[in-house]
């Protein structure tokens, strides 16, 4: 009896194959998990058996379970066993399981190398085939290295079935083991002409993929592909070839012309079939290359298709056998490709695209939105946004509406609000968007409001008025707890009202609105801002009421604060609590003072004095990493992951930062200020580390595009600044039109005048047609934040760095003395010792005798200017005055002298030097060619006060090529594009015996030679820098052991050679 049961169960075990398993799972719908776990137990039993057939069956079932999401990695070894079975039916089960379950990190893969090699060389083509297929799924770098040769041999196998698989898997091998590409390449190329179309197609696939990365190398294959294109009938292959040509045409413009004919042939050949669209579409992938002139024609094709499909659905569907929606989608996709090169032709279809926004299909709507983003101009922005706003109102479903909202904001804010001509309109749009129900993007709107209000100074009055209304109507926004996302807007509103409270019409009312009990239902961080800004408002109100003889109004305000603030003191949010109790105490104190009739407004507002300046998000990058500081190293061991999980970065919070750290200086009266200024000047004059603003240096600063220096034009607005109630953005469209018309009229007038002066003969043809982009002047100007750091910080840095300078020798007074020493020194010794300060590179020249330190900086604004900062230090005991700096100009470099002075005159150094004091002066040089390093001879003359003798000091200035480079960050994709562009010359250098960690090495190159790291992978890194004249310099630094090889590319070979020499020198010194 017992034996029977055992026998039966064994039988069942043998019986249950994949079909049974699938059926069983279907029959156990209620307790599927339980059923499967018993199945897995059975499978485990089966795997213990010696019979390979049973094992294969078990592995087959496991493959199915793996698909359902069960972990079967425990059976990895059994899978390898089944793979090595000699019977093909089992082997393929093993390989299938392996290709599904194995990945690069599966350790049993190591065991398979020999088995796979055996299968690859098996006489049975299907053994080989299945091994190749499996290998493509789990090939590791090790496998690729070990098997590359075997696979390469298979590329010339007699069976096309094997050849095509081998060719295709070679691509994977190249990726895992790049060294294999060189030996395999000739054979790969051969396969393009293989008699079997399958092998051809595989080779096209692989080369197309390789060429996409590095098109230049494959240019020589163009004729071959040309032949293939005209002969091949396989549409999939055609698509690939067209794609390949898409990568090649930018490198060889003639190719584009040559392609037109075969491509048009293709289109005609396949007309009125689905292949038409097929080909057209491939065509468009090509179209983003400028060299392609036929694009317009093809654009017509696709436009016709779109219009057909939207106008007469039945007709179009029958003619192309594709669903309308598919055609529409592809058409829009194609348009976005064309948009990049032919924006005009796409823009003419604006209405068509706007129509697509009405489509039922979300994919199509999103595509259309994407297109609109690229289509906006100053002229049509308002119109497009107006249409979008209509769609926002109509849109169903929050996801799409949120997408619309973000797109509107994206469109408007792209490239620093480039297309916005009227910011009042934009603020109104933002305010309108706050009325959206249930959006998740409240914080996005809020950050836009803040950004605009901070950066567009002219708009603040208007913005503040709008925000005040928003605050007043806050109940509309917060009424429904579900619409929580939008209350983020109140954050911005409160902050703007507080920060720019001087523009408020009725601050008391706003203050009241901010202290309503309802506010306590808002999220904590918003309440905190409310409280803080209530205090700011309070300060403004006090200030406004200062003049009044009747102080009751001010006292009433204080009383209101005292009445309302306790609500916030009880808040559960710590931040709110803290701020509220702090401010409450402050107000109570103020009230006491008020009762004693003490004037407090001045002091209270001093709490919040000071202007906020926007800081570029990348400003931090400009601060160089000091030598020896390794940013990648952990200071403390990383905390466990769970701790960092609940951190939620929010853009809004970072905005808050500057507010806290901003200096709050009290205002002092004029006299006091003047006195302090005097004292400071005195102090600065004697401070060896203070860099004084010498006349020439001032000039340099002016050229730097600092925030302060951008003139903010206050344009007479043709719109009333105060709009009662919530604004309607629509009105701006009309107003804007009027404004432009007015401007145009004025311009015309001016032009007429000009023409009169110029006389009709040469006058430009006046175009009275539609205004061009440039003609539209913005009504408000944005403060563009360039990547400049506040000057203060950079100076600070400099001071520090100078402190670290090695001791400075005495500057001797006697002429003969000096000469003597100079010859002793044996010329100058140049020590590259720069830290990078802002964008300018520096090189320090240390002279052995007259300790003069100088740095040479490229001038960003002018490709031919170099600024040399020289630090003069008086090490003698006497007072030095009347210093004159002169340089013997070379053909290439000239010292810039003030107008009217001769070419050999010296420049007066604008300060005198007491004993032991150093100071800095800046001199501007004009440089013509920057490809060679050079030395300039110069002299410094001065008078020693005590002896009243004239002294002279000789020096040399060493302009290295490095000093013409400017650290410029570069993104890897831009970098790759640059390398692909192909007009760079290459060169390389090898450094032996470099004994330092790789990251130190990189830091050194960055530091001394003004490069920035683009990408670093293990012991290989790509770096980038730019010269002041815009030459690109790209480095690929590789290290192995003590040898470092640097492959470099630059569009100026001489410059490159010199830079490499300098790098070599840097490392030979260490």
């Amino acid at each position: 009896m017992a034996l029977k049961i055992v026998k039966g169960s064994i039988d069942r075990m043998f019986d249950k194959n994949l079909q049974d398993l699938v059926r069983g799972i279907r029959n156990h719908k209620e307790d599927e998990a339980k059923y499967i776990s018993t199945c897995i137990d059975e499978i485990k039993q089966e795997l213990k058996q010696d019979n390979i057939a049973v094992k294969a069956n078990a592995v087959c079932k496991l493959t199915y379970l793996q698909m359902l999401g069960y972990d079967v990695s425990w059976a990895a070894f059994n899978i390898v066993e089944v793979m090595s079975s000699s019977k093909f039916t089992y082997k393929r089960i093993g390989y299938l399981a392996a290709s599904q379950c194995f990945h690069e990190n599966t350790d049993v893969i190591m065991l398979t190398t020999n088995q796979i090699r055996k299968d690859l060389s098996s006489p049975n083509q299907y053994d080989t085939g299945v091994a190749l297929t499996g290998l493509s799924c789990f090939v590791t770098p090790d496998l690729a290295r070990d098997l590359a040769n075997d696979i390469m041999t298979l590329m010339s196998h007699t069976k096309p079935y094997i050849r095509k698989k081998a060719v295709l898997i070679m691509y994977k091998v190249f990726l895992k083991y790049p060294e294999s590409l060189r030996p395999a390449f000739p054979r790969l190329k051969e396969k393009l002409e293989d008699p079997d179309p399958g092998v051809q197609s595989a080779a096209v696939n692989v080369i197309c993929e390789l060429a996409r990365r590095n098109p230049k190398n494959y240019l020589s294959l163009a004729p071959l592909f040309f032949k293939l294109m005209t002969s091949s009938t396989n549409n999939w292959v055609l698509i690939k070839i067209i794609k390949l040509f898409g990568a090649l045409t930018p490198l060889e413009p003639r190719l584009g012309k040559k392609l037109i004919e075969p491509l048009t042939n293709l289109i005609h050949r396949s007309f009125s079939s689905r292949v038409l669209i097929f080909i057209c579409f491939g065509f468009f992938k090509l179209a983003h290359k400028k060299s392609f002139s036929d694009v317009i024609v093809s654009l017509c094709y696709i436009t016709v298709l779109i219009s057909l499909s939207s106008g007469m659905p039945n007709h179009s569907a029958s003619s192309v056998f594709l669903r309308i929606s598919v055609v529409k989608y592809l058409g829009l996709l194609a348009m976005s490709k064309i948009l990049k090169t032919h924006p005009k032709s796409v823009q003419s279809h604006k209405d068509l695209i706007l129509q697509c926004l009405d489509d039922k299909d979300e994919s199509i709507r999103l595509r259309a939105l994407d297109l609109l983003y690229g289509m906006v101009s100053k002229k049509n922005l308002m119109e497009i946004v107006k249409k979008l706003m209509i769609h926002v109102d109509k849109a169903e479903g929050t996801t799409y509406r949120d997408e619309l909202l973000t797109k509107i904001i994206d469109i408007c804010s792209q490239s620093n609000y480039q297309y916005i001509t009227n910011f009042e309109w934009y603020i109104s749009i933002l305010v309108e968007l706050t009325r959206l129900e249930g959006t998740r993007h409240g914080h996005l709107i809020a950050s836009q409001m803040l950004d605009v209000a901070i950066r567009v100074k002219a708009i603040r009055v208007f913005a503040v008025a709008q925000m005040a209304t928003l605050l007043d109507n806050a109940h509309l926004l917060t009424g429904n707890m579900q619409r929580n996302g939008i209350c983020e807007v109140l954050y911005a509103a409160a902050w703007i009202c507080g920060e720019f409270s001087e523009h408020l019409e009725n601050p008391v009312q706003t203050l009241e609105a901010m202290l309503r009990p309802k506010v306590a239902t808002l999220p904590g961080h918003i309440q905190a801002v409310y409280v803080q800004n209530a205090a700011k408002l309070f300060a403004t109100i006090l200030k406004n009421q200062e003049g009044n003889t009747d102080s009751t109004a001010a006292q009433e305000t204080s009383q209101m604060m005292i009445d309302r603030l306790p609500l916030f003191v009880q808040s559960a949010n710590l931040e709110v609590q803290e701020r509220a109790s702090c401010i409450l105490q402050l107000v109570k104190y103020i009230q006491k003072l008020q009762q004693k009739d003490v004037e407090v407004a001045e002091e209270v507002s001093a709490l919040f004095a000071g202007e906020l300046n926007p800081v570029a998000p990348k400003a931090q990058k400009k601060v160089p990493v000091p030598e020896g500081l390794d940013l990648d190293a952990w200071i403390n061991e990383p905390p466990s992951e769970s701790e960092s999980e609940d951190e939620q970065p929010k853009a809004i919070f970072t905005k808050e930062e500057p507010k806290h750290s901003r200096p709050r200086h009290t205002e002092v009266d004029e006299k006091e200020l003047a006195r302090r200024r005097e004292a400071r000047k005195q102090e600065q004059a004697n401070n060896p580390f203070y860099i004084k603003a010498s006349p020439s240096s001032q000039k340099v600063y002016q050229e730097a595009p600092g925030v302060e220096h951008i003139p903010v034009v206050q344009i007479d607005l043709s719109v009333p600044l105060k709009v009662p109630g919530l604004p309607m953005s629509d009105q701006y469209v009309k107003l804007e039109e009027e404004r432009r018309q007015k401007e145009r009229a004025e311009k015309k007038k001016k032009e007429k005048k000009k023409r009169k002066e110029k006389r009709s003969g040469r006058g430009k043809k006046h175009d009275s047609g539609p205004e061009s982009e440039e003609d539209i002047t913005p009504a408000h100007v944005v403060d563009i934040v360039t990547e400049e750091m506040p000057e203060k910080s950079s100076k600070h840095k400099k001071k520090k760095q100078k402190k670290e300078k090695e001791e400075k020798e005495k500057k001797k007074k006697k002429k003969h003395h000096h000469h003597h020493h100079h010859s002793d020194g044996g010329g100058e010794e140049s020590v590259q010792n720069g830290t990078v300060e802002e964008e300018e590179p520096l090189t320090f020249l240390v002279f052995p005798l007259p300790r003069k330190v100088c740095d040479i900086q490229g001038n960003l604004q002018d490709g031919s200017q170099v600024v040399v900062s020289v630090i003069f230090e008086n090490k003698s005991d006497s007072f030095l005055k009347s210093m004159e700096f002169n340089v013997l100009d070379s053909l290439n470099s000239k010292l810039q002298r003030p107008e009217g002075s001769g070419p050999h005159d010296g420049l007066t150094v604008p300060f005198q030097l007491p004993p032991g004091v150093s100071n800095e002066a800046r001199f501007v040089f004009t440089v013509q060619s920057i490809v060679m390093p050079q030395k300039l001879k110069g002299t410094l003359t001065f008078i020693v006060k005590d002896s009243s003798t004239h002294e002279k000091l000789d020096f040399k200035l060493h302009f290295t090529c490095t000093s013409y480079l400017i650290t410029t960050p570069c993104y890897s994709d831009a970098f790759a594009k640059l390398l692909e562009s192909g007009d760079l010359k290459s060169s390389s250098v090898r450094l032996e015996g470099v004994n330092m960690p790789f990251h130190h090495l990189l830091a050194r190159i960055c530091f001394h030679h003004h490069f920035s790291v683009v990408e670093r992978i293990d012991s290989c890194a790509s770096m980038y820098s730019r010269s002041i004249q815009g030459h690109h310099v790209c480095l690929l630094v590789k290290t192995s052991g003590q040898t470092v090889s640097i492959d470099a590319k630059c569009d100026e070979p001489t410059l490159l050679g010199n830079v490499l020499d300098e790098i070599k020198q840097t490392f030979s010194q260490c």
Partner: protein, 164 residues
């Protein structure tokens, strides 16, 4: 002839996922049950289930007359519906959407030819065979073969081997 010496054989570094044109092929039914899955880049098992569920939800939410392309996270989905069965292909941006759209149909035609009027059950019970067909058509994320008889040639040989 090409002089290979001048050719720079370095393969520029880029995110690994970008190298695969076809990321995965899925067959799912209306109930969201996976009937076939094939990944051409390694995805953790735990994330596969979530991805599949998400993808299916996405496709199911779309109406029949809407277009077959969905932008999903950083890649695209091309799907076609056959009765209750959805075939979903995940592709990178640089792949041609239409060619994949056609490939899916080609795949179904091949299945139809092999199983003579293919149904969901055929696919379920002959998962290994469907895999063989798919592997003949797509290898490491690229299309290898589109000719129906050539795709089926290995499979028919195998069937003969099993029978004998």
């Amino acid at each position: 002839m090409v002089c290979t010496d001048n050719i720079d054989f370095t393969i520029p570094l880029q995110p690994a996922t970008d190298r695969i044109m076809i990321k995965f092929v899925l067959m799912v039914n209306r109930q969201g049950q996976t009937r076939l899955s094939r990944y051409y880049h390694s995805v953790e098992l735990s994330r596969r289930a979530a991805l599949e569920a998400d993808v299916v939800r996405y496709c199911l939410s779309r109406k029949k007359d809407q277009c077959s392309f969905v932008e999903y996270k950083d890649f695209k989905l091309v799907y076609r519906q056959y009765a209750a069965l959805y075939i979903v292909v995940g592709i990178t941006d640089s792949e041609n959407e239409l060619s994949i759209y056609e490939l899916v149909h080609n795949f179904v035609e091949v299945l139809d030819k092999y199983f003579s009027r293919v149904s969901e059950l055929d696919i379920m019970f002959n998962l290994d065979r469907v895999h063989i067909i798919l592997d003949e058509m797509i290898q490491n994320g690229h299309i290898v073969e589109t000719n129906k008889s050539r795709i089926l040639a290995p499979l028919t040989t195998i069937d003969k081997m099993v029978d004998s």
